[in-house]
């Protein structure tokens, strides 16, 4: 299967950029806050990624559909309203149907509003591109965010709780690495993740002035 056949030339490029070359976390360092906070358990990471992907898609559809009639002076407000509404929906649904996950994620669900990936993509992409491309972009970026979160979460959950998706995977006598359960531990994992992916993707560090 070929990306180009599937999505066309432009679409393939959008997907590739989103998932790897212009990875929102490792290349643009966006969405770090939630990546640090919500990556302690795979379960939470899935919920968070799903939430972000949902809001991203919602925003992509609405903004790209309305891109020609949104007055440019109020576009940021429009993004905000859309994102905030989407997040509130996610929050309410989580609270009602997945209360335990909602509690574990605490204030970070409402804080999806401030997740720069969504705002950034809205301003950089959705408002300038047709719906189909925007959808692809939203999906790609959401997936990139998701797999990053998952990678970190898998590592952290195994080391910090000895489990994977709640199932014990470590041998008897395993001692939990408590630090990795705390956001401080996420810093080390995320830092190493950024280092590895940036080296692989060939991202140059910012030049010193």
């Amino acid at each position: 299967m070929n990306l180009k056949e599937l999505f066309g030339k432009k679409g393939a490029k959008t997907v590739k950029n989103g998932i790897w070359r212009e990875h929102p976390i490792s290349s643009a360092t966006l969405g770090i806050c939630s990546a640090l906070a919500i990556s302690n358990k795979v379960e939470n990471a899935i919920a968070m990624s799903a939430g972000v992907i949902f809001v991203l898609i919602l925003t992509a559809i609405i903004i790209s559909l309305l891109r020609k009639i949104i007055p440019s002076r109020v576009r940021i407000i429009i993004y905000m309203i859309t994102i905030a509404a989407g997040v509130t929906i996610v929050d309410l649904v989580l609270k009602a149907y997945f209360p335990i996950i909602s509690e574990a994620m605490g204030p970070y669900v409402p804080l999806i509003i401030t997740n720069c990936i969504i705002m950034g993509r809205a301003e950089a992409f959705f408002v300038q591109n047709p719906t189909k491309l925007s959808l692809l972009d939203a999906l790609a970026n959401g997936l990139a965010y998701g797999y990053t979160l998952m990678a970190i979460a898998i590592f952290r959950e195994i080391f910090a709780f000895g489990t994977l998706l709640g199932v014990r995977v470590t041998p008897a006598g395993w001692v939990d690495w408590v630090v990795l359960a705390a956001p401080a531990g996420a810093f080390f994992v995320l830092g190493t993740f950024l280092w590895v992916t940036r080296t692989l993707a060939g991202v140059e560090p910012p030049k010193k002035s």
Partner: protein, 190 residues
């Protein structure tokens, strides 16, 4: 001018649309959320009062076993055997802590403790607050005062063994219990 009106109009329409959508979602989810929160509190009260319950039968067990009354704005839960439970909140060793304390019918001993929120050091202080360890507090005298003593030295009726390496959390919960028990006893006039 027309631009401005258009702009304001667009934002208004857009906002109203989303407001409606949100109201709809809220009406759909609201009852479920409320029910969950209530159930959560009831579970903790039942835990503290050491009343067994099934996952699905919380509401039924609670309503049939526990009476709720308000004294000076504080909820006091009374079980059939006369033991009472009440919520508490206060400083732990690393951060705030809240939960439910239950007293025996004679109001001189602990019936049980359940923790709702806590922020003790994971793996260290939080071991004190684990359900298994909280069992050690059951039936301990709170008259004159509950005392947490170094591990392995508990002998008197009001003494609880501390956990090695978690003395500070043990001390924090000890003083929280003593303080709240005294306050509640004055409240209910005993």
């Amino acid at each position: 001018m027309i631009d401005k009106i258009k702009m304001i109009g667009f934002v208004l329409v857009f906002g109203i649309f989303w407001a409606t959508a949100l109201v709809a979602v809220d009406t759909m989810t609201g009852p479920r959320i409320e029910k969950y929160l209530l159930e959560k509190k009831r579970k903790k009260v039942l835990e503290a009062l050491v009343i067994p319950y099934e996952k699905d039968s919380v509401e039924q067990v609670f309503t049939s076993n526990v009476k709720t009354e308000q004294i000076d704005g504080k909820e006091i839960f009374t079980a059939e055997d006369g033991s009472i439970a009440f919520e508490f909140a206060g400083p732990g060793s690393q951060g705030p802590m809240s939960g439910v304390i239950a007293l025996s019918p004679g109001k001189d001993a602990l019936k049980g403790i359940a923790i709702i929120t806590q922020s003790e050091t994971p793996g260290l202080g939080s071991r004190v607050l684990a359900a298994d360890n909280l069992k050690n507090f059951r039936d301990k005298k709170v008259v004159p005062e509950l005392a947490v003593v170094p591990a392995g030295t508990a002998s008197a009726e009001n003494e609880v063994d501390a956990i090695t390496g978690a003395t500070l959390t043990s001390n924090a919960i000890e003083s929280l219990i003593n303080k709240n028990v005294k306050a509640t006893k004055t409240l209910i006039g005993q």
